[in-house]
Symmetry: C2
Subunit: 368 residues, 2 copies
């Protein structure tokens, strides 16, 4: 595994050199983990012209859920009163003779940035921008394997819930049970706070579970995902509680399902991000739901549950093969509820069978 | 309730005026919640010379766990493609005639700061520093009531766990069960990721639960806390599994208990933060554990689980009445395990009975 991380750091070093910066400071935790294998809390990674160093504050102990740091990487653990590792890294870069240091201006706070400047006044600070995030967009086979396992775990947890009695239980309890089942099946934890939404709450993106109980006739929408070795997937499904759905429920479900399928079918290398969004959005818009849609109908997943690319009307760029994304349109009717259907897929060439669906739980409208 | 938030904003407005800034931009979520009653994800609060405005990105819906926004406060929800609320706030401040805007440089990223400067070039940007964090240190009666309820919930969840069979269960499962019980008893959620550490893991601060199972003869240390209406408390206890602890276990437990008691007894208005730390640290140091101690043996709690003050050797400042803090020394012997004892208390005048212990679960060494 060590070579993978060394290669990733080598690519970043090449980019920095090409941009005229001898050294780079990576502080965003998911970026540190991508390049170093692990990201002990508060650690930063200094990419030098030759040598790389992971600087960490003194930690209470190993934390396996933050990943295992590449053994080929030099690690420095600062003493108790050692201050900010980012400042120590800037000092180290200056002492090693670097004249420039590219930092993650979108992550580093103004106060930390000023402290770097004071500690290493001879360093010219530049902006690394989203260089590491861009490297992370296309996944390698090992990363996709982790996502596939995360999706299997998620499907198992959801499948078990569907076999249990749901009426009378609260959103909070169902969410906690799903999270317990994720861990039972081998997840390092939930990929994000599990959402369970019943009745008038159903169909809302990011709904936080309340004490509302599941009732006959409700729509029930759930959104969950496993974190497996740092890689996070997402599934969302909507069910109806009782023997038969009402007409408005079937109609709304069919509409959202058609929109979600259209966006899934648009997933191909070379397709513009915005065109994936539009495939779903135009169907929902034509049905009169345009004004209430979320700003984005899908996004990349990986070491973070929301990462590049965004599938939204204003997104710039095109899909590549081996980019895992979510496709997650939803419609919520205030006071009544709604439908949300969410899958994680990997973009593949047509010749390779087209988009690979990772979250395989059925998307029929089940009456539970 | 609305008056409480208006008063808090009024105090901040006064500080800004005294520092020569007509307006302030609050972006750190806990600070936004403190001043506005709620903090919808991504929202920022503009404190103007006369009027205050909460600016939020378009949200999927109400999220009660982020708190309810003060109804007396003007709210602006940006359109889907409305960009960064902080930039919109700077633009608004400039158009309303402010010449200066104090921002939270310790929270705002360099990239956002630059975007503010571009959007509102006539605004002189200053640093608000930790002004809001400082206001948050001393709690009012309503805040302490929330913490007291959070502690009651936490004691209940822990008490129930102690009545169940523990041998053979994994750290992960015990942690998930504790979190479920917190929610059962009325918590909005766990205040932080619950830590359960068995055998050689025991006594480590911030240990993330693994698949290790509880065994006879183990030390078992747990650390958990409830979030109640945004207010977060913390309790840590160490138990021994089996009929009777070993001699080394009793000895280590007595030592950590004595250190924790010494620090609790040092809590009084006017005591230096570092003297509270020292009261515990010197006992542990004298017993030969000085080198392995955490940098800080306690900290403030409130809307964040770690907030000012820090109780550490290098901390500057003195305790006030009505400041809630944790006291949490621990010793971990590599390969063997250890002991950690953690309470949440409120600093009170001697005449008012001295420090108020919120987390009342027994600190005897229980054999479970």
């Amino acid at each position: 595994m060590s070579q993978v991380f060394a290669d990733r750091r080598g690519r970043l070093r090449g980019r920095c050199a090409a941009a005229g910066s001898a050294a780079a400071l990576v502080s965003r935790p998911a970026n540190v983990r991508y390049l170093a294998g692990g990201s002990p809390p508060g650690s930063v990674l200094l990419i030098g012209a030759e040598d790389d160093v992971l600087l960490s504050p003194r930690a209470p102990g190993d934390d396996p859920t933050e990943g295992r740091v590449d053994e080929g990487l030099r690690q420095v653990v600062l003493p108790s009163a050692g201050g900010d590792p980012a400042v120590a890294a800037a000092d180290l870069a200056q002492r090693s003779g670097a004249d420039g240091l590219a930092v993650e201006e979108h992550h580093l706070s103004v106060a930390r940035y000023r402290a770097l400047g004071s500690a290493a006044p001879q360093l010219r600070l530049g902006d690394l921008g989203n260089a590491v995030e861009q490297e992370r967009v296309v996944k390698d086979d090992d990363e996709i394997t982790c996502l596939r396992i995360a999706a299997e775990i998620t499907d198992q947890a959801l499948g078990e819930l569907l076999e249990s009695i749901l009426v009378g239980r609260t959103e909070r309890h169902l969410a906690l049970e799903l999270e317990r089942r994720l861990v039972d099946h081998g997840a390092d934890g939930p990929a994000f706070p599990t959402s369970v939404a019943t009745g008038p709450h159903s169909g809302r993106g990011g709904h936080r579970p309340t004490d509302r109980r599941v009732e006959e006739g409700d729509f029930l929408s759930v959104c969950l995902g496993a974190d497996y070795r740092g890689y996070r997937c997402e599934i969302g499904r909507t069910f109806v509680i009782g023997t038969a759905p009402a007409d408005w429920q079937v109609e709304l479900y069919d509409l959202v399902f058609a929109a979600q399928r259209a966006a899934r079918e648009a997933l191909a290398p070379g397709t513009a991000y915005r065109d994936v969004d539009r495939a779903a959005r135009q169907l929902l818009d034509a049905a009169g739901h345009g004004a209430s849609l979320a700003p984005s109908l899908g996004h990349g997943v990986g070491l973070e549950i929301q990462e590049d690319p965004q599938l939204s009307p204003s997104a710039m760029g095109k899909l590549d093969a081996c980019v895992p994304v979510t496709v997650e349109p939803g419609v919520h009717l205030p006071g009544r509820g709604g439908v949300r259907i969410d899958d994680t897929l990997v973009v593949r060439q047509e010749a390779d069978g087209g988009p690979e669906l990772l979250t395989i739980t059925t998307k029929e409208l089940l009456a539970l």
